[in-house]
Symmetry: none
Subunit: 221 residues, 4 copies
C-alpha cells in the first residue's frame, strides 16, 4: 500500500509548502497585510486549494506558531542536559534562545502572528489552543526556574510559573518592538543586543544574592 503512503507524504509536502510561503510573506509584509489571496498567489495554488489543507487563515497562523515553538523546545531541551545547576540552566536557555531564534526569521513571524491574534476574542475555543504554543515554552522555563529555586542558585522568593509567563512575554515584547521598525532598519543584531541586555538584567534580578557576579553575564554563540 505504498501508494497511500506516498499520497500522504505529498499532502504533507504541500502543507509545508503553504506554510513556508505564508511565513515568507509574513516576514516581508507583516501579518495584517497579507491575505489568503497573497498566500495562494505566492504558492501558485488557488485560494480554494489552500482551504483543502487548512480550515481557515487562523489555522495557518496557529500551525506556524506551533511548529516554531516545538522546534525551539527540542533544541533547548537538548542543550539543557549539560546544565549543572538552575542558574547555569537558565543561562543556557537564554543562550539557546539567542542562538536559535534570533538567527532565524521565525522569531519575527511568530511575534507578528501573536500580536495579530485579537486580544480576548469572543470564542474561547481556538484561543486556548493558541496559547498552548506559549504554554509549552512556558512550562520549560518554569521547570528551569524551579530547579534554580530548589538548588539555591536563584532567588528563592520567586514564583516559577508566574515568572516563566513574564519571561515569555518580555521576550516577545522585544522582538515585537524590533518588528515594528521598517524592514530595512530591522536587524538581528539589534535584537540580540536588546535581548542580551535584557536577559542580563533579568539574570541579576533572578539570581540568588549569593551568586557570583561574574556568572551573571551571557555569552551567546
Amino acid at each position: 500500500m505504498g501508494i497511500i503512503e506516498r499520497k500522504k507524504r505529498e499532502r504533507e509536502k504541500r502543507r509545508n509548502q503553504i506554510l513556508e510561503v505564508a511565513k515568507a510573506l509574513i516576514l516581508d509584509r507583516g501579518v495584517p497585510a497579507i491575505s489568503m489571496q497573497d498566500i495562494a498567489d505566492e504558492a501558485e495554488l488557488s485560494k480554494a486549494t489552500i482551504y483543502l489543507y487548512f480550515q481557515s487563515k487562523e489555522a495557518i497562523l496557529s500551525e506556524i506558531l506551533g511548529t516554531s515553538a516545538d522546534a525551539f523546545i527540542a533544541y533547548a531541551e537538548g542543550r539543557l542536559e549539560a546544565a549543572s545547576d538552575g542558574l547555569s540552566a537558565i543561562k543556557i536557555l537564554w543562550e539557546s534562545y539567542l542562538g536559535f531564534f534570533v538567527e532565524s526569521p521565525d522569531i519575527f513571524i511568530c511575534t507578528g502572528i501573536k500580536n495579530y491574534i485579537p486580544p480576548a476574542p469572543a470564542s474561547a475555543g481556538s484561543e486556548i489552543e493558541e496559547l498552548q504554543h506559549d504554554r509549552k515554552i512556558r512550562r520549560l522555563i518554569a521547570k528551569v526556574l524551579k530547579r534554580g529555586c530548589d538548588d539555591g542558585t536563584l532567588e528563592a522568593s520567586i514564583d516559577p510559573d508566574r515568572i516563566a509567563r513574564i519571561v515569555v512575554m518580555i521576550t516577545m515584547a522585544i522582538v515585537d518592538n524590533i518588528a515594528r521598525l521598517p524592514r530595512s532598519e530591522r536587524d538581528a543584531k539589534l535584537i540580540r543586543e536588546d535581548m542580551q541586555d535584557t536577559f542580563e538584567i533579568l539574570l541579576r534580578g533572578l539570581a540568588a544574592s549569593s551568586a557570583e557576579r561574574s556568572l551573571l553575564s551571557l555569552s551567546p554563540s
Copy 2:
C-alpha cells in the same frame, strides 16, 4: 456672550463622549474588532457625525493614546520630586505606574491601540507622531535611569536610553498579555501582581551590587 462658551463646552463634551465610547469598545472587543460604525452606533450618533469631531479613525486612537500618556507623565513627574536618589526615583516611577495606570482600564486600551498600529508601515509620517507618546514616557524613564547611574545607586554599565526602551516594551508586554485573556478573567489585580514581580526583578537587576537588598522591593499605594 456665554453662548459661545457653552457651545464650546458642549462640543468638548461630545468629543469626550466619543472618546469614552471608543475606549469602552476597545476595552470590550479589542481595537481591530471595532469600526467607525460601531463607535457611531454605540455613541448613538451617525458615522458622519463622528467624522465631524475626528478626522479619521487613526485620529481617535492617537488622541486616546496621547491623553493617557500625558496624564501619566504629569502624575509621575509630580511624585518624582520626592526622590532622593536614582534608585528611589525608579522605585517611585514604578509605584506611580502601578498606582496610576493599573487601576484604570486605560492601560488595556493604550496597549491595545499600540499593538494595533501596523508594524513597519511604509510612510513614516504618522507613525513617528504615534510613537511620540511612547517617546515621552521613554525619555522620563531614561532620565531617571541616568540619575541612578550617575549617583551610583544603579548598575553603572547600563545604557539608560536602551534600557528605558526595553522597560517600556516590557511593561506593555505584560499588559498586552493580560488583555488577551477573556474579558471575564482579566483582572487589574493580576496585572498588579505580575508587574510588581517584574519590576522587582528588574529593580534587582538594575540596582548597583552595593545596594541594600531591603530597598529592592516595591510597595504600591
Copy 3:
C-alpha cells in the same frame, strides 16, 4: 424706508460674495472637486448660511453661468453695432469673444460648470433653465449668421440656428480641453491660439465663396 433698501443691498452683496468665492474655487480646483463646505469655508460663512442665499449647489452654478453669459452678451452687442455686414459682424463677434472671455477666467469657470452638469438628467426642469444661458448666446450668434446669409457675405446654404448651436459647442470644447490641462500648464495664450485657428477655419467655411480671402482672418485686440 431706506432700511429695507439697505438690507436688500447687503443681501445682494453677500450673494455676490458667495458667487465670487465659488468662481475662485472652481477656477482653482475644478467643479467636481469643490463642495459646499469648501465654498462656506472660503466665504467665511457656514454651510447653512449659503443655503439661505441659494437653494442648492446647482443653483449657485447656474447663476454663475447666467451672469457670465449675460455680461458677454452685453459686451458683444455693444461692439456689434459697428458691423457693416454679416461677415464683419461675425468677425467682430469672435474678436469680442477672444477679447472678452479669453482674457478672463470666467471662461474656464463656465466651461467647468457646463461639463459638470450631468448629461440628460432625469428631471428636465432645471436643465431647461440651464440651457437658457447658452440659448441667449446662441440667439445672438444666429442673428449675426442670418444677417450674413441675407446680405450674401456668408454661404447661403447654412442654417443659422443650427450653426449657431454648433459654434457655441465648438467654442466650449476648446476651452474645456484647455481646462483639462494641469492648472500650471493652462494658459490663456493657448486658448487664444486654438480659438483663433478654429475661428479662422470656421470663417473660411462659413464665408460665401465670393468673399475676399484677405478678410477671413481675425485680429483680436
Copy 4:
C-alpha cells in the same frame, strides 16, 4: 483540453457582459450617475464579482473608451486606403466617422466617459494613459491633414497637429451636446445632421482655396 478554452471564453463573455451593462447604464444615466453598485445590480452580480474582472471603476471606463477607439481606427484605416489625395482622405475619414460612430451608441458613451475624467488631475500617471485613446485618433487625423497640406489639396497654412487636436475636440463637443438632451429627444439623426454640417464647414475652411467647391460636401453611407 477544450475545458480551459471554454473557461477562457466564458470569462471573456462575462467581461463583455459587464462592459455592456456599464455601457447601457452610461447611455441611460450618464457616467457620474452610475456606481459600481449599479453596474453590479444590473449585471446581476455582486460588487465583488465586478472587481474580479476589473481592477477599478476607472479600468472599466478606460476599457470601454479604448475598445471603441481602436475599433474606429481599424475601420477608418481600412477605408482610407482608397483615398487619392489629402482632401479626399479627410472626407473619407469624416464619412467613416459618420457611418461608424454615429450609428452606434458608443459615441455617447465615449464622450460621456471622456467628460467625466476629472480635469487637471494631480497625478499625471493614469491620465496620460487615458488620453492615449484620443491620441491614437488624433494621430490618424494629423496624418491625413498633413497629407493634404503636402499635396496642396488643403490650406497650406494649417498646423496638422493642432488642427487634429481641435477636430477631435469639436467632434466630441457635438456628441456631448446631444448627450445632454433628455434621452428621449436624443437622436442619432440629429447628430448626423449636426456633424455633417459641421464637417462641411470645416472642410471648406480647411480646403485649399483652389479646391473645387463641388468636392466640399459629404455623403455618408
